[in-house]
Amino acid sequence: MAEHDEAGHSRLRRQILMGMAAAPLAGLLPKTAFAQAPATSAVNTTGLAVTDTEVTVGILHSATGTMAISETGSIQAEKLAIEQINAMGGVLGRKIKFIQEDGASDWPTFAEKAKKLLVQDKVAAIMGCWTSASRKAVLPVIEQYNGMLYYPTFYEGLEQSKNVIYTGQEATQQILESLNWVVKEKGAKTFYFIGSDYIWPRTSNKIARKHIENFMKGTKVVGEEYFPLGHTQFNSVINKLKLTKPDVIFTDVVGGSNVAFYKQLKAAGINLDKQILMTISVTEDEIDGIGGENIAGAYSCMKYFQSLDNPNNKEFVAAFKKMWGEKTVIGDVTQAAYLGPWLWKMTVEKAGSFDVDKIAAASDGIEFTKAPEGYVKIHANHHLWSKTRVGLAQKDGQFKVVYESPDLIEPNPFPKGYQ
């Protein structure tokens, strides 16, 4: 701890000196956002990498390894948001500079890089992580060094931290409304769960099972199966599906397994126009690999689809495609990642400071009206109030929104009765 403090102090001293040197100059310059910026010493009391013109944040995702498939979209969205914020004059008059680190799909590497960003680079916030495992690895580091993490992925819940803002949905937000919808609208009675074998599918399915068994009438789960990550042979489980004939196949298969699963499902003659399949793991990103023709007819429960029809989203999609190419698609997590820098900017401006403690305290109640998914608000538990939507997969790889929850759903990371 001693070393940490010392380094912080000397850096702080340097920054104060620089701030004093810059002050007289600022008076000579024409009135710009820069000149109006509050003094660095005032907005940064903990020695973060904030100068009079710049503030540094970290981007921490996997650019290599198996998770690069999923995390690329998040990196792109975060870069887009930072660029847009900078174009609007930055945060508290300071341009955002980002340092990108590669977690390489390896959890210890994530922890190592998070520590590097906080201890060496003194970033004011980190936009990053994708899998629960990487977040779990990073969390102790973030808490120890008092950093701020904006985490974009929909996840299993059961977590809450002063140092993390969860911009994706936690499991109850994503699942409960959708289950209610499928039971009410489609008259579904029986469910079959198929997931990849790790914590997110297992916890999500547990919540779904409790909801189906305890909170709804006449519905039941007729099967539950998990496969190792990367599994590519689903014929046996498809046979079981044919025999049990569930009303709804409820899946949270991830990664490469997804592709195999839907291709084999289609090849086995399970027609998704007749058989209801509901997934909580397929976004537009995944469809890119699966192929729209293989999954058309499936229902996906997300808070965001690229096809959402609102002005915010149209603007966002256009900007994203302009920056990253016409062919890129935008999934739920990509949009949630896009929220991170914006929410941070607004919180910093509300708090009038880059200090993590002040941001953590000021986060409650931050509203973002320009979010592509519509209006969102940060809850006191650091998750977002958001709507949930059910999209029907189309052949072109897009979703048609068939249901949207009427109100914002309250995030509930530790749901009573679901554990």
């Binding site: 680190e101 959890w107 210890p108 190592e112 629960s132 916890t203």
Partner: protein
């Protein structure tokens, strides 16, 4: 006494002194807390690499499943720390207080039996070494007694590492699944997350590593070490000189497993969690390359190789994440094709002779693998 293998000759002592000075003096003085902790993490892999030098370099047994032992050691320590972090008081919001949080999420209502011994520190320390050694003994007895060796052994150990990963991920109620065992806080009430604790742990780690190195050197310089070399060359001759080759192979495999397990336990202490991503095939093969880069016959080379590769990995992936895999892949190929004896070979062939010329020291044994590689050390110290 012209030939007696006095345990550690002058050159070895010098090399040991250089390593000790580097680890105990130079690094702590030259590096800030963050970098020092990183070096500490790398050094935990060096335990595995030293074990591989014994197994692979001397014993001729290439194990692609060292991650399994590293993981067993690491999980042992993590289970102890997790239980300490899951006191009834800390976990009172759970439906079953007093068990680790992930068990509670998975509807476990009591602690599984195999977690029980990890309530106590001393049994934990024993189990950290004994469990991996028992596994190694089992695997080794089954395979070496039946003369499985070389390629087949490599592939089967690789499969074992893969099975272990699937099993750990699949049994998440008992193991923490893909997330691993996280959020470890204290060791007998001592907060291991603080910078001062990390500093202390670094030294514990370094001293243990030096101890393991001495142990490896003792084995290497004993008659057993020469029998290993002999076995690697002419297995049958050794067998027909009255030795049970399998027993020696089992011994050295267990030794490698024990070293790896110690490394794993130190990893958990320094990094603060353990996860299946350190058990699988990829980390196991990476550890082999640390050893190969250092020189598969050089105990000291293993340390320098580990430091060098990890230093390259960290710095390359900080500045050019895309190039890192190309660099690592290229390194594998280059080492195999051009430097089969790794850094130690380069030292022996290029550096040592010029030093010898300067100091007019006659190298006593031309085939003795090279020892300290000051250049690599300097690079790693960056």
């Amino acid at each position: 006494m012209k030939t007696a293998p006095s345990y550690m000759d002058r050159k070895d002592l010098l090399a040991l002194a250089v390593v000790a000075a580097l680890l105990l003096v130079v690094f702590p003085l030259a590096l800030d807390g963050f970098r020092l902790n990183l070096v500490g993490k790398y050094l935990t892999y060096a335990f595995v690499a030293v074990g591989l030098v014994m197994c692979w370099g001397y014993g001729g047994i290439l194990s692609l499943g060292q991650g399994l032992f590293f993981g067993l050691g690491g999980y042992g320590m993590a289970m102890y720390l997790k239980l300490e972090a899951s006191s009834v008081e800390n976990t009172k919001i759970q439906s079953t207080p007093g068990i680790p949080d992930f068990m509670d999420w998975n509807q476990l209502t009591s602690l599984p039996w195999f977690w029980e011994p990890f309530h106590y520190f001393i049994p934990t320390l024993f189990l950290i070494v004994l469990v991996p050694v028992a596994f190694a003994l089992l695997i080794g007895s089954a395979m070496f007694k039946r003369r499985v060796s070389g390629v087949y052994f490599a592939i089967i150990t690789q499969a074992l590492a893969a099975i272990a990963t699937i099993l750990i991920i699949g049994q998440q109620g008992y193991t923490g699944g893909v997330n691993g065992i996280t959020d470890l806080r204290t060791l007998m009430g001592w907060d291991i997350r603080t910078d001062s604790a990390k500093f202390v742990l670094y030294f514990v780690n370094a001293v243990l590593l030096i101890g393991v190195v001495c142990c490896a050197m003792f084995v290497r310089d004993s008659k057993l070490g020469r029998i290993l070399v002999a076995m690697r060359e002419k297995e049958d001759r050794v067998r027909f000189s009255g030795y049970s080759v399998a027993n020696f192979q089992i011994f050295v495999f267990c030794l490698g497993a024990a070293f790896a397990a110690i490394g794993g336990a130190m990893f958990t202490l320094q990094v603060g969690f353990m996860s299946p991503s350190l058990v699988g095939i990829v980390p196991s093969i990476e550890m082999v390359i640390f050893c190969a880069v250092g020189g598969r016959l050089s105990i000291f080379g293993a340390i320098y190789g580990t430091l060098l590769v990890n230093y390259a990995k960290t710095s390359l992936s900080e500045s050019f994440p895309e190039l890192w895999l190309l660099g690592l892949g290229g390194l594998f190929i280059a080492v195999v094709l051009f430097f089969p004896n790794g850094l130690a070979g380069i030292w022996r062939d290029y550096v040592q002779p010029s030093i010898d010329r300067v100091f007019k020291l006659r190298s006593k044994d031309p085939t003795d693998p090279g020892h300290d590689v000051a250049k690599a050390a300097a690079a790693a110290a960056e």
